[in-house]
């Protein structure tokens, strides 16, 4: 029997601000999971703190709503211990690029086979409007009453520099594109990031909506394995490109751990060593 999105809805009714784009991302993910026919019990969703942290509450899966900034290393632990599960990591710009920013590079080095949905609203929305790492220079927020005096982080170039093996940007204005990107990301072997630009309605950041509205899909002839070309597209703000910037195949953490096990067990003829043998080796 064909699965439906309804199977992926938890019993908790989503509560975000009226008209918030989180609703669209959630329903898009539920639709994709149904299409990919992944049983809810084989999905682990890990979220951080912030508006998108609530994502895990609303998805029917094994859901872990953790602390601020640690969704990625928690997800890594799940996937390393349980390669059989599909792991989704969800967080915002503050969670992923602020407090948890240090974890992306290391998850990328290991190429953990998970999909990270980073939903960027350029603001700390849940706590009612403080500046985030992606709030643009000069923007007035509750913690930058005279304008932000720091440069904003550019997320896609950072992911490219870290060599995350799948990098895409989605525009919340185009839900069908987001579904396509999430599908491609989940089916990608390795770490995938779908970075969704999603202006906050309650605490709007000047110019963000306009930038998003003027976005264009990356050129059809773009070679997704060309990191330098991808970097060039990533640094374009007008137009703001959406779609898949970069996708390569390299060993996942699971592959690497399997190889490590093979090397470790080679001495014992490719078999697991018993506890007794280990203890005897210390005698």
């Amino acid at each position: 029997m064909k699965r439906t999105s309804a199977e992926y809805k938890s019993s908790i009714k989503p509560v975000w601000c009226a008209g918030c784009s989180e609703y669209s991302v959630l329903s898009s993910v539920q639709k994709v999971l149904a299409e990919l026919d992944i049983p809810p019990e084989d999905i682990v969703v890990v979220s951080g703190i912030g508006c998108s942290g609530r994502f895990s509450h609303y998805l029917n899966a094994y859901s872990l709503h953790g602390t601020h900034g640690r969704a990625l290393p928690i997800s890594l632990g799940v996937k390393a211990a349980r390669p059989d599960l599909t792991v989704l990591t969800v967080g915002g710009d503050g969670d992923g690029l602020g407090i948890g920013g240090g974890h992306i590079s290391h998850a990328a080095r290991k190429n953990v086979d998970l999909t990270y949905l980073m939903i960027d609203n350029r603001i700390y929305g849940l706590t009612k409007g403080q500046a985030s790492p992606t709030t643009p220079l000069g923007a007035k927020t509750k913690t930058s009453p005279y304008g932000v005096y720091e440069d904003a982080l550019a997320a896609i170039p950072i992911f490219l520099a870290y060599d995350v093996s799948f990098i895409a940007r989605g525009n919340i204005g185009d839900v069908s594109e987001i579904s396509e990107l999430v599908t491609a990301a989940i089916t990608h072997k390795g770490m995938s990031i779908v970075y969704i630009v999603s202006p906050c309605r309650t605490f709007p950041v000047e110019g963000f909506k306009e930038t998003v509205e003027s976005s264009e899909v990356v050129p059809a002839d773009h070679d997704r394995t060309d990191r330098l070309k991808a970097m060039e597209l990533a640094y374009s703000y007008s137009p703001l490109y959406t779609g898949i910037f970069y996708q390569i195949r390299k060993p996942t953490l699971g592959d690497r751990l399997r190889d490590d096990t093979d090397r470790a067990q080679a001495e014992a003829g490719g078999k697991e060593v018993t506890i007794e043998q280990i203890l005897q080796s210390f005698a």
């Binding site: 890990v46 470790a264 067990q265």
Partner: protein, 611 residues
């Protein structure tokens, strides 16, 4: 009195001293390992220089026919490679001791009653293998002959360590060993101790550091996931597990910091694995927030804190017992956790097994609190009967699970929901002992939300007063159930029951206190000793009973503020005499003995005044 285990026929100390980079430690460790293959107990103590090469370096090995509790005070056999090695250790030579030295490098002064053997290690090594790399193994050969060790035992060890026969390093070492034996034979060296291996081939003892014992305990407990970040002095646990985990089909991952390490462990525990992360005090500080997340999500998790001297970067390579209160109380909010403090190298193995039992059964974080002194010390540990490891059913109450011992090891797994319980599944169901079945991802119908927000039994976020009260009580009820379990365990109490002086210690001071108790007994002062292994929650009734039986109690610990004594005073209203040592080195039996003698003197006076 039951003092026989302190008297022994074989009890001697060997020390090898010289410069860092001369292979002194590996020479000593090989000798100790070979000795461990005989029927004797071995205990080592190592001083590393701060530098990678150069600087004073020494290893001390005590060998005895009974359990050893300390490193020994004087040296019986001294092997010196350098002038500095000689100058800094000759003062420790005991009466009638033996010195073996390199006459080309060391100038000696005769010591009355001592025996001196000149063996030109450097020259012999140069002639035999064309360089200095063999000189520590020449010394090993000399020791082998001196103690009548079977050369094959040492050859086998060298092959194990440096690769099989035919390899260049192995060949050099085997040759060096042979010329070492020959040099000692020519010098007609011999002594009254014969360390010949028993005829049976199956080893009885392992030679382990406390850190290694923890790694092995984790594997025996069924832990198959480790994430960590290097930090002195806990790194050897992580190194050992990165080497062994893949061999047993487990996973060990080096993370970018301690926060990521504990996070990965939380993820893996959520996935259903038994997990461990090793660290030291500064790392535990970073883990604080995630520690409370594990408590809130009610996930099993074992953290090892090999304490070093603090605060801040403090004394990374030295020992201290100063993280007790931090381990118990550190972090925001109130959440249950248990703290275990192994008393020695062997106990590290068994307390690690116990930590997993408590953590898996009660679904809460457990911190194992050891320190640099037992982490790095090596000792002989009887190989436990691992073929007898049984996994008891997860529904068995914790108090019915045997404490792990060399003869019998029981482990347990977390409680999973039955198919009935999965209908309308409540992950955080409020039960009598607070323990609620935990669904493993992949189980159909077990999907649940685990949130760090306060939540209902079903896992739904809820900030209402009634939910917070109910769920706080539920979480702490597990701690109460654990306390009850502790009261049914045999008391960790030693010495004559009619003693008037009691000593309470925790963690690595156990050996020194025990030896001080034996020394006191020889002087006619009976002393009783309480040494709880679970230091939070405390076995309250056992401590109350102990305090009520003693006329005067001493609390011994290696910190400045008297952290354990604070509990003895605050929780039980006692007024103990506090012995604090915070020099970065372990407390010695003699230091405790002198306190016992003072107290005994005062008690005698009180008796007289009463008459």
């Amino acid at each position: 009195m039951g003092n026989t285990e302190f008297k022994s026929d074989v009890d001697f100390v060997v020390r090898i001293a010289g410069e860092g980079g001369e292979g002194i430690i590996s020479c000593g460790e090989l000798f100790a390992q070979a000795a461990a293959r005989t029927e004797y107990h071995v205990f080592t103590y190592i001083t590393y220089p701060a530098e990678v090469r150069g600087g004073f370096s020494m290893i001390q090995i005590r060998i005895r026919d009974w359990m050893i509790y300390s490193m020994g005070s004087t040296v019986d056999y001294l092997v010196v490679f350098s002038q500095q090695g000689y100058d800094r250790t000759i003062g420790s030579l005991g009466k009638g001791g033996t010195v073996i030295y390199d006459p080309d490098l060391v100038k000696i002064e005769e010591v009355p009653g001592a025996t001196f053997h000149a063996v030109p290690f450097s020259k012999i090594s140069g002639e035999a293998v064309g360089g200095q790399r063999g000189k520590n193994i020449v010394a090993l050969g000399v020791l082998g002959h001196l103690f009548s060790m079977d050369r094959q035992v040492l050859e086998k060890l060298l092959q194990d360590r440096f690769g099989g026969k035919g390899g260049q390093a192995t060949e050099i070492n085997l040759k060096s060993l042979a010329v070492g034996y020959e040099a000692a034979r020519q010098a007609a060296m011999g002594c009254r101790f014969h360390l010949s291996a028993p005829s049976s081939q199956k080893a009885v003892y392992m030679m382990l550091s406390g850190n290694e014992a923890i790694a092995l305990g984790a594997i025996a407990a069924g832990c198959r996931f480790v994430a960590g970040y290097p930090i002195t002095p806990a790194t050897p646990i992580f190194e050992t597990l990165t080497r062994l985990m893949p061999k047993v089909g487990g996973t060990a991952i080096q993370m970018e910091d301690e926060i990521a390490s504990i996070s990965a462990c939380i993820g893996a525990s959520f996935g259903g694995e038994k997990v461990l992360t090793p660290t030291s005090g500064p790392g535990l500080q970073l883990m604080g927030e995630q520690l409370t997340l594990a408590a809130m999500l009610e996930l099993p998790l074992v953290i090892v804190n090999v304490q070093r001297g603090g605060p801040s970067t403090g004394l990374p390579t030295k020992t201290e017992q100063s993280d007790l209160k931090f381990a118990i109380y550190g972090t925001a909010g109130e959440s249950p956790r248990a703290i275990l403090a192994p008393s020695g190298v062997e106990d590290c193995f068994y307390q690690t097994l116990r930590a997993f039992t408590i953590s898996e059964h009660f679904q809460m974080p457990v911190i194992i609190l050891t320190d640099q002194s037992i982490g790095y010390r090596k000792a002989t540990v009887r190989i436990p009967a691992v073929s007898n490891i049984t996994v008891v059913d997860s529904s068995v109450p914790c108090e019915e699970i045997d404490l792990p011992s060399p003869d019998r090891i029981q482990t347990t797994n977390r409680l999973e929901p039955s198919s009935e319980e999965l209908r309308g599944y409540k992950r955080f169901k409020d039960t009598d002992d607070g323990v609620s079945p935990i669904a493993r991802p992949g189980t159909p119908g077990g999907q649940y939300l685990a949130t760090g927000l306060e939540h209902t039994e079903a896992g739904r976020a809820d900030y209402s007063p009634s939910t917070h009260v109910k769920m706080t009580r539920k979480r702490f009820r597990k701690l109460k159930a654990l306390s009850k379990t502790l009261e049914t365990n045999p008391p960790e109490c030693y010495g004559p029951e009619d003693a008037q002086i009691g000593i309470i210690g925790w963690g690595s001071t156990e050996g020194a206190i025990r030896e001080a108790r034996y020394l006191a007994a020889e002087k006619g002062i009976p002393v009783r000793h309480l040494h709880p292994k679970v230091v939070s929650p405390l076995p309250n009734r056992q401590i109350e009973h102990f305090l009520s039986e003693m006329k005067q109690v001493l609390v011994v610990e290696e910190n400045y503020t008297g952290q354990f004594a604070h509990f003895v005073k605050g929780l039980f209203g006692a007024r103990p005499i506090e012995i604090h040592k915070y020099e970065g080195v372990p407390i010695a039996p003699e230091e405790i003995l002198s306190a016992i003698e003072k107290v005994a003197g005062i008690l005698d006076e009180e008796d007289i005044s009463r008459v």
